[in-house]
Amino acid sequence: MAKLLTILKREYAQIVKKKSFIIMTLLTPAMMAAFMVVPALFATRDVAGGEAVAILDRDTLGIGEALAEELTEYTTETTGQPAFRIAPVITLPPADSAGYRRIRDSLVQAIRNERVKYLIEIFPEAPLSDTNLLLVTNSDNFKSAARFEHRLTRVLSRIRLEQANVNLPVDSILALTRRVELHSQDTKGESIPTEIKLYAGFIFVLLIYMMIVIHGTALMRSVIEEKSNRIVEVLVSSVTPFQLMAGKIVGMGASSLTQVAIWIAVGLGIMAYSGSLGVDLNSPAARVAFDPLIVLAFTLFFVVGYLFYSVYFAFIGSIVNSDKESQNFLWPVVLCLMIPVIFATAVIQDPNATWIRVLSFLPPFAPTMMVLRVVFIAPTVTGLSLMSNIALEALVSLIILILTTVAAIWLTARVFRVGILMYGKRPTLPEIARWVRHA
C-alpha cells in the first residue's frame, strides 16, 4: 500500500507539473465563461444597423416596396434597433432581361463581398404562383428566412385579395387571418434555447473527451517510457505489476480530479459572488451550467470514464514498443467518445430514443452519451433533478461502467505483467488470451 502511494504520488506530481495540465485547468473555466457570454454576443450581433437585404422586383405591383416597408417593423430583441437594412429595392420591367442579368450579377457579387446579406428576388407575375420567389444568401438563418416568408405571404395575400374583389375590406381580412407566433417552453415552464443546450452538451462532452484522451495518452506514454527505458525491470523487482498499474492509473485519476475540483470551486465562487460579478444565475446558460444533476453526472462520468479508458491505455502501453506504434490504437477511443457529438442533433431531438438510450448504457459510449442526455434532459425536469428518471438512468449506467472497469482492471493486470517485460514483437490476440488464462 505504501508503495502504491509512492507510485501514485510520483505520477500525480509528474502530471500536475506539466504545462498542458495547467493550460487545461485554466482553459476550461475560460470556456465556461465564454459559454455564458457567447449567447449575449449572438444577440448583439444583430445591432450594427441590421442585416442588409436587397430586393430585386421584376413584377409591376410594387411587391418589393411593400415588403421593404413590412421588414422595417422588425427590431432586435436587445436594443430595439431595426433588424434589417434595406439595401436597395430595385424594380425592373419584366421584359428587361438584359438589365436583370446585369443587376442580378452585381447583387450576387455584393453578397459574395458580404456587403449585402440577402437578395430577395421577385419574379414576374409573382402573385400567380407560390414559387415565383427566391432568396439568395450564403448564410442560412432560419429566423430571418421565416420572417421573409411571413411578410411576403402578407404582401402577396393583400394583392390577391384586392384582385379577387371580395366584399370585405382587405385590411380586416388580413387582420383576421394574420399569422400566429408560437413560442415554446419546456414542462418546467422555461424556455432554454436549443442552441444553449447543444452548446453546453458539446462543452461537457468535449471536456470529457479531451481529458480522457490527453491523460490517457500521457498514461500510455509513461508505460511506454518505462518499458523502452527498461526502468520497468527494476520496478517489477520492487513492486507488483498490479501496484504499478494501479498506482499510475489512480495517480493520473487524482490529477484529473484535482482539475475538476478546481473547476467546481471556480463555479461555486461564481455562484457565491454572482451579484458582484454581474452573472445572471437565471439565464438559460447558467441554469444549464449550474444544474446539480449535470454537474454531478459530469464529474462522476468524467472520473469513472477516465478510469475505464485508462485501463485500455495502460493495456496498449504494455503491449506496444513505441509511441508511434501506440497511435494506431487511439482511434477506437476517439470514435466511441465522439459518437454522441456526431449524432448530437439526433440526440437533442429525442434524447430518449431507444438506440440513444442503449448507447448511453454501454460502457465505451456512456461517459459522453449519458452526459449529453443529462445535459439535454435535466434542465427540463420539474422538482429536484437528482430524483428524476434521468438521474436514475445515469446512476444505473454509472454502476455498469464501474463494474466493467473493475473487470477490465482485473483482466488487464494479467496482460500488463507479461506485456511490460516483452520487447520487440507485439503480441497477437491469441497470445494475449493465453496470458490472461495462465496468469
Binding site: 509512492t6 509528474q14 518505462e226 527498461r230 520492487s238
Partner: protein
Amino acid sequence: MHLRLENVTKRFDGRVAVDRLSLEVPPGVIFGVIGPNGAGKTTTIRMILNIIAPDEGQVYFNDRPVDGSFRDRVGYLPEERGLYKKMTLREVIVYMAELKGYPRRRAEAELGAWLERMELASYLDRKVEELSKGMAQKLQFVTTILHKPEFVILDELFSGLDPLNVELIKNILLELKRSGTTILFSTHVMEQAEKLCDHICMISHGKKVLDGTISDIKSRFGHNSVRINFAGDASFIRSLPGVRAMTEFTNYVELDLDGTVTPPSLLREIAGRVEISRFEVMEPSLYDIFIDLARVDPSEVRPAGGRSDG
C-alpha cells in the same frame, strides 16, 4: 541471504530458456553466473526476483520459497539500463529507495555520500537526461544498493564503464561483500568473473555446465596442459603414457594430458632425455574452460562438472 534454485525450468513458446537449473549461492560471496548471450541468465535472474514464475522447480531464499516478501531485501541492476530522464538525480534515488520500502528521510540523508563517491555530487539537482552514459550507469548502481539490500543482483554490471569506474565499483562490491552482502554477478565476460568472483556457475543453452569455486574449477580443469621448451629430439614424448595429444612448435611443444599422469612425474620422465629450458603447467582461463565445455553437449559434461543434484 542464502539462495537456492532447485530444478528450475522455464519455457517460452515451447523453447526451453532455462533447463532444470539447480544452484546454491551461499551467503556473503560474490557469485558469478557466466555464459554467452542468450544462455538464460536474465531469465534465471527474473525467476530469482519473482518477476516471472518457473514452469517447474522452485527458488528458495533462506530455505523459504521465494515470494514478494523478499523484494525489499534485494537490489537489482538489470542489463538494460534506464531511469526516468526527466527526474533529477535526487528524485530518482529517493523514489527508487522508497519503492524498496526504504524510509525517504534516510534515503535523502545518505544519497549525498554516495553521489560524492561516484563523483556525481554536482549533478544532484540536475536531470538524469543530462548525464553521460557512464554517469547514468553509476547512478543506477547507487539506486541498486542504497537501500542496503542483503542480496544484490548485477546483470552485466561493467558493460560500458571505463577502467577507472570499473575499479571504483569493484572496490564498492568488495566492501559490500565484507559487510556480508551476497552478490550475484552475471556476465558474459569471463575475465571479469575470474577476477571478482568466489564462486562461478556456467550456463549454456539454459543448462548448467559447471559450477564451483574458482580454485576448485581451476584445479579440476587446470592441470591437463603443459608447455615445454627444450633442445633435442622430443618425438618420444608423444607416445608416453598419459599424453593425449602433442602440438609441436619450433621451440616448444604443448602437451594435452589425460589425467593419468601428473606434471611432476611427467617432468621426471623426460628430464633426462632432452634438455629442458622451460617447463610450464598452463592454467587455462575460465574462458578456455568454458569454450571447452560448451562445445560439447552440456548434458555429457554435467556429471563431471560440479554438483549434479538434479
